[in-house]
Amino acid sequence: MIAESGHYALVLALALALIQSTLPILGARWRDFALMNVARSAALAQLLFVAASFAALVTLHATSDFSVVNVFENSHSLKPMIYKITGVWGNHEGSMLLWVFILALFGGLVAAFGNNLPLSLRAHVLAVQAWIASAFYLFILITSNPFLRIANPPIEGRDLNPVLQDIGLAVHPPMLYLGYVGFSISFSFAVAALIEGRIDAAWARWVRPWTLVAWIFLTLGIAMGSYWAYYELGWGGWWFWDPVENASLMPWLAGTALLHSAVVMEKRNALKIWTILLSILTFSLSLLGTFLVRSGVLTSVHAFATDPTRGVFILLILCVFIGGSLTLYAWRASALKQGGLFAPISREGALVLNNLFLTTACATVFIGTLYPLALEVLTGDKISVGAPFFNLTFAPLFVPLLIALPFGPLLAWKRGDLLGAAQRLSAAGIAALIAIAVLWAWTRGGSAFAPLAIGLAVFVVAGALSDLAERTGVFRMPFGTAMRRSRGLPRSTWGTAFAHAGVGIALIGIVCETTWNSEYIGSMKPNDTTEIAGYELKLAGVTQRQGPNFRETVAQFAVSLDGKPLSTMMPSKRNFTTRASSTTEAALLTRGASQLYISLGEAAADGAIAVRIYHKPLVLLIWFGPVLMAFGGMLSLSDRRLRVGAPKPAKAMRGLQAAE
């Protein structure tokens, strides 16, 4: 009964989406306010029905109703409740339902909070949103229905893949989807602007917060996934340049570029056409990511050929939306008027440079990910493109970008003073040089790469701080004045500084981890000791334990530093009987931003157990950086300018702009 209700709610949501995708457009054409307003109520009702459908699937999983195929294939009655719930999106059908749920959520938010949008713009935006929703409802209902029943219900389920039974799974996919799907809003706004043939600063002011929301979630989602892989997969890697990762990195790079170009558009009314194109591309890359991972084309081109229903369906959606929006762009973009002029050395110029490098980086990932697929389809040649390729092509793009980064916020709009900016960055430059010199002396004989890269990171962080110092006047003025000035500073300025500092901090973590990572691989028996990076680890014992749906082997390591006992680390290896598979649960000991990391391997007959122990200096900065970036994004989001929104391009708005 619950399954059927959920299914029916989804069909109703499709019907509502079809109404929402047509009537408002007609309303906008005929200037019929009642028809345009249909968009709002349809979007809200659609959200209600998808939420009901999603709740139905969650209930089925929570109550372990094995008469539903989806529950039977991915759940087990002994699984802890939290993993029963997170298992809902741990499989194809459920995660697609989550996808459309989030899509409807964003549509509902625009409907609920879009009261100050021009009526026809809102009607168009929600209609475009409903086109996307309709396509994906059809996809779910035709090829991936999560509510199918089994004729003879089995007693027990097949259990969820053990790797996915982790708290990381509870949070990572929803975050990532909020990011992916969130970009659909900027896409809908872009397409709506193209249909209307009108675009102004108010449009940009509306798009920016939505892009920012999606970007914050995507940033956190990627960082969280990376940390999850780091502790769950047991070999301490945190980024693998896997096509699935690349699928999430591409929209992030394009979305970051979009955030920056939207600033130019909002403040200076320039780069309009480019911003529209970026909005389309960013969401297209989200769709491409969905296609890549959903169709099975990554596993092998042949797997895609043998079971093509889903793949072809998504490919079709992809072609219609990307092809359609780009055609519309080609047709209508020239109708949009170009905005303000600026000199190459200016804030706008810096942001354009940012866009050039970010989009090139995005293109590099795109080519590296899709080239092997294209080559295999066209010529049958099989090649691999992996980490070494990306390290060589992707990383260098960030050097000029990061050198230029601190200059951007210090340059004036329209025409900037590079020399003045350089003078104001002299303290940051000196800090970077000191960092390079100290590291160089400390790692005598080591490669020059690490000190230089860390120097660059220090420059970025110090540059962000000197921008703040400059604006608050903290070193020039009495303390009270500086405090008052810092309170008066727009939150988005603080946000920029935090986000930029986050980039530098992540880079420090990346360089330290890859350069000074130490590793011990060996076989240890109880009471054996080993030393790594000054820490002494003693294997105190190995015991067996029974978990709710697994058995685990736990090893106790006594950790001491300079003879003083510090802590006990307990890595384990879990065997899940239902799926006959195992996971390693690494033990982590955090010391400042550095970590000791132990993971267990196979036990030998003589009682010895294979262990891998790592010392990863400053590794936590890799994820602390993105968290700081997301925090900066949130600060910027709370800026009064964005909260106020932009009802109409009224004169009052212009006045507000000039005040900055």
């Binding site: 741990g90 499989n91 194809h92 995660s95 893949n161 790797v163 996915l164 799974l169 990572h172 996919p173 996934g225 999850w228 892989a229 769950e232 997969l233 047991g234 070999w235 693998f240 896997d242 096509p243 699935v244 990762e245 999430s248 959903r294 099975g296 990554l298 596993t299 797997a303 043998t306 079971d307 170009q338 190459p344 354009v352 490098f357 989009t359 090139t360 293109a363 590099t364 080519i367 590296g368 080239y371 080559l375 040649d381 099989k382 090649i383 691999s384 493109v385 980490a387 070494p388 390729f389 060589l392 092509t393 793009l397 691989i521 195992s582 996971t583 390693t584 993971s599 391997g601 891998r612």
Partner: protein, 173 residues
């Protein structure tokens, strides 16, 4: 049918994991018994392993993979190094045996030309496009400035008349 189910499961895992598609089971790469006694040679073997693909895994290097094939390849690399091969010779040996698929960083050859050239071309092309666009716009703007601010002869004459007709401020009336 079963196989298809397995493939689909793999896809499902790969999507949800997003970070590590291949992690169907716990990964445990280099085993203690594989390590070479000479640390310099071992570190060469590790560096080479990171450039080589485990062909049965999804986009995983043999250094990271716990598949039996990856272990065989790791041992083979160490064997060749022990036999005195240079890094390039080891790579050539593996390519001769397993094809180019084994390299995670493809060689620059006719069929990978675009792969290697497109990223730098995108940067250079983008830069040139920006430069040309910027120049054209500023020239257009300059031309527009001149045409807007230059008055026609008729306008000049009219302006003269208007100024002459305007009552001067210090002589009211």
């Amino acid at each position: 049918m079963r196989e298809r189910g397995e493939v689909r499961k793999l896809i499902v895992i790969s999507f949800v994991l997003l970070m590590a598609a291949f992690a169907a089971s716990s990964a445990y790469a280099v085993q203690p018994d594989e390590i070479m006694s000479d640390p310099a040679k071992e570190s060469r073997a590790r560096d080479l392993s990171r450039e080589l693909r485990c062909m049965v895994c999804q986009n995983q290097s043999i250094d990271d993979s716990d598949a039996p094939l990856a272990r065989d390849l790791r041992l083979l690399v160490r064997e060749r190094i022990a036999a005195g091969d240079s890094d390039a010779q080891v790579i050539d040996f593996l390519v001769a045996r397993y094809g180019e698929f084994v390299l995670l960083k493809p060689r620059l050859e006719p069929h990978t030309l675009l792969l290697w050239l497109l990223p730098p071309l995108a940067l250079v092309g983008g830069g040139i496009a920006l430069w040309v666009h910027g120049r054209r716009r500023s020239r257009l703007a300059a031309a527009k400035d001149q045409s807007t601010f230059k008055l026609t002869a008729e306008e000049e004459a009219r302006l003269e008349r208007l100024i002459a007709a305007e009552p001067s401020p210090d002589k009211p009336g």
